[in-house]
């Protein structure tokens, strides 16, 4: 079953020399050479020799990692190509070390029918530098009323179903969705949020919102809906994925559900893993996202959950917004920030270098774990597999700016800041999708 599509590029002929290969899937953490022929990894070892027409990449001091997979991006196409399209989104993903990425269904029009999905798949074959796939909506028009044709959408290649951006409004429609999704053999990904507690909210509710005078979004707003949805999934024995979990209370509910055998997977974003509500004091609209940046205690709980595996994977919730939408007062700005190009840099710097997380675990949570949830083969650095990998210079310092970003939008929480760690090369499905070594 095809669930991702990209444009045909020439197969890579590469010898990546002297990098530190870190691949928990193959049990490798050692300085090795990686030889890629016709887009496949043919050998991993010491002192490999390049043949004719093989480009040699000096990866000394660099990390050679299985490529990342993003389960949660917003490609903004169709409808808002001024913010992003498949060409720019896939370029941003490739520049972040991603070898596959999935777009959410809240496009204009909404991805709620198979003909649109098939059309976007053709678009991806024309534009996408890395394989991209699509979530289809749970309800028609994301209106929370009628189910989409999940059977046909699943057959057309929808990776799963989500009304992301909108919560499912009632327990009844959540239940129907979790029942009916079984016809597609896929799962429901929920944006958990109690609409009545969210209303008017601008940031996490706590001491920072009290001081800033911004209407708070309590942690309860998420955890009540997470708990309710988990209970329904348990009752229906359905597969559930929880999007962008942000609170300790939600994690407690998920831990209980996982112990009880509920089939639930969970993602967390780089911004929720590294930033807190205190950052919002600058009133920078690029720090306004939903779910909001939470308390330091929530952030620490998320990091621990990512380490333990309670949070299965990292997902970016890459949400481009046009500069004219974000260049307004904080309270008037839309929610969302981009994240594909900064994900590994910030997580490596903030979590791995601080020793909260080991590199192998981060790689698993960004690569093999989300790949498996999506139903893809886990990228690996081993002889015989298609090359899905990235080369990262962990010491490189770069400034996040409209000029350095591949995304058409630049609403990054780290805009204008220097980040440490840069992806230099990405090979996706055996083709060079990003090359920053020249």
């Amino acid at each position: 079953m095809e669930r991702t599509w990209c444009k045909p590029l020439p197969a890579a002929e590469l010898l990546i020399k002297g990098g530190r290969v870190v691949d928990p899937e193959s049990g490798v953490d050692a300085v090795q050479d990686v030889l890629v022929k016709k887009g496949k990894i043919v050998e991993v070892g010491k002192d490999l020799k390049a043949g004719k027409n093989t480009r040699v990449v000096d990866a000394a001091g660099m990390l050679v990692l299985p490529g990342f997979v993003d389960l949660h991006a917003h490609f903004r196409t169709p409808g808002r190509e001024d913010e992003e399209d498949l060409a720019t989104a896939s370029a941003a993903a490739a520049a972040g070390g991603y070898v596959a990425a999935f777009g959410m269904a809240n496009t204009e029009p909404v991805m709620d029918n198979a003909s649109l999905l098939k059309g976007m798949a053709r678009q991806a074959e024309a534009d996408a530098l890395i394989p991209v796939g699509f979530f289809a909506a749970v309800t028609k028009g994301l209106e929370g009323q009628e189910l989409t044709e999940m059977g046909e959408l699943g057959a057309a290649g929808a990776v799963a179903f989500s009304d992301d951006g909108m919560p499912l409004p009632t327990a009844a429609i959540t239940r129907r969705a979790l029942q009916y999704v079984k016809v597609s053999k896929r799962f429901i990904a929920v944006h958990a949020q109690d609409a009545s507690l969210f209303k008017g909210g601008q940031m996490h509710e706590g001491p920072a919102s009290a001081r800033l005078g911004l209407t708070g979004i309590p942690d309860l707003c998420e955890s009540l809906d997470v708990s309710r949805t988990l209970d329904i999934a348990a009752y229906e024995d359905a597969e559930l994925h929880v999007c962008h979990v942000s609170t300790e209370k939600s994690l407690e509910a998920i831990a209980r559900a996982k112990e009880a055998g509920v089939r639930v997977t969970v993602e967390a974003t780089p911004h929720h893993l590294t930033l807190t509500d205190e950052c919002v004091a600058s009133l920078d609209p690029n720090l306004k996202m939903n779910p909001p940046l939470r308390a330091e205690s929530d952030r620490k709980a998320l990091v621990e959950a990512l380490r333990s595996g309670l949070v299965d994977c990292v997902a970016t919730d890459h949400a481009p917004h046009a500069s004219e939408e974000k260049d307004v007062p904080y309270e008037e700005a839309p929610f969302g920030c981009i994240g594909l190009e900064t994900a590994f840099s910030v997580l490596h710097k903030e979590l791995v270098e601080s020793r909260d997380l080991d590199l192998g675990t981060l790689v698993t949570r960004m690569s093999a774990a989300p790949a498996r949830i999506a139903g893809l083969d886990a990228p690996a650095i081993a002889a015989g597999v298609t090359a899905d990998l990235c080369v990262v210079d962990p010491a490189a310092v770069w400034t996040v700016s409209p000029e350095t970003l591949q995304s058409r939008s630049w609403n990054s929480p780290w805009l204008g800041q220097e980040l440490t760690g840069k992806v230099r090369l990405t090979v996706a499905t055996g083709r060079v999708a990003w090359d920053d070594l020249a």
């Binding site: 509710e205 001491p207 919102s209 009290a210 001081r211 005078g213 911004l214 009133l283 307004v328 007062p329």
Partner: protein, 313 residues
């Protein structure tokens, strides 16, 4: 000299606040003359942008600038390009073409001053942004306290009573009062008390049981919208008045009442207090002029003592 904004009370040090209050005091004689004008800011341009209704703040900023001989320009949202959908960024760029020295702005959204400041060379003075900050109100409150209760405000106990949740005045006042050594207690219905506010170092109470401890009672306006269906912060103004309204019967002899205005007689404040000369409410309005003169002056000439106001009067 890099431009200096006043967006939050946190933009000021204690020394800055004290200098502003001293400067305001030095302007008082000007306000008592027959010709109430000094040439200090002659040739300077000050723009007042009021994107939200205001009587006291807009009139006192306008008059303060005129007393200092600055050229002023007043714009309101109604009748301006805002009604045609112009963004704040573009308004800032447009007005900056006139090279103003200061733009004073009131805006319904927190963060508006940051947007404005990022798009103009002018210094930005916040005249109230959403529920976030109202620093010049805080400064005039401090000035009224100093003029009426003595220069040393250290250790004074202030109770701020009312709709803390929606009040930018409360947030600026908490910071400013604490900066000058006062102890702040907040009293509000539980629905109108922001969760986590105690981390600002204030006492949080839900009734008036300890009101006798207050030296100053600072009342906040209760808006009728808080009762509407869907808001449901309060069951009725009547019950608010019974539980949290202040009348002479609840007041001790030395306690002074303040209110940023406009007042709601019979809700948060009884008429017997509103009409009593002992309250500081009218003095707060008076202070607004001198304090805003000081703020405009210091924003342009700088916060160093070397530029003492006496030299230029």
């Amino acid at each position: 000299m890099p431009k200096r904004d006043l967006i939050s009370i946190e933009d000021l040090s204690r020394a800055d606040v004290e200098l502003l209050l001293d400067t305001a005091e030095s302007f008082l004689p000007v306000l008592e003359r027959d010709i109430k004008k000094v040439p200090t800011l002659r040739g300077r341009t000050i723009i007042n942008l009021f994107w939200e209704a205001s009587t006291r703040t807009s009139s006192s900023f306008d008059l303060a600038a005129k007393r200092l001989s600055a050229d002023t320009l007043a714009l309101k949202a109604s009748g301006s390009a805002v009604e045609k959908g112009e963004t704040l960024k573009d308004t800032a760029i447009t007005l900056s073409a006139y090279s103003p020295d200061i733009i004073v702005m009131r805006h319904p959204s927190a963060g508006a001053c940051q947007t404005l400041s990022a798009n103009t060379e002018a210094s930005v003075i916040n005249a109230g942004d959403g529920k976030h900050q109202h620093p010049t109100q805080c400064l005039l409150d401090l000035f009224s306290m100093r003029q009426n209760l003595g220069r040393d405000l250290d250790g004074l106990k202030v109770f701020i009573i009312g709709d803390i949740l929606h009040s930018r005045v409360a947030r600026s006042d908490i910071m400013g009062f604490q900066m000058l050594g006062m102890e702040v207690t907040l009293v509000a219905p539980p629905t109108l008390m922001p969760r986590g506010i105690e981390e600002m170092g204030v006492k949080v109470e839900y009734d008036l049981a300890n009101l006798k401890d207050a030296d100053v009672i600072y009342l906040l306006r209760i808006q009728k919208e808080r009762i509407k269906a869907g808001a449901a912060y309060l069951p009725s103004l009547r019950e608010y008045s019974q539980l949290w309204g202040i009348s002479q019967a609840r007041l001790g002899p030395k306690q002074r009442v303040m209110h940023p205005g406009p007042i709601n007689r019979g809700v948060e404040i009884a008429s017997d207090i509103a009409d009593d000369d002992e309250n500081l409410i009218a003095h707060q309005v008076f202070s607004g002029l001198a304090v805003r003169m000081a703020i405009l002056y210091r924003t342009i000439v700088g916060y160093s003592d070397g530029a003492a106001s006496g030299e230029v009067l």
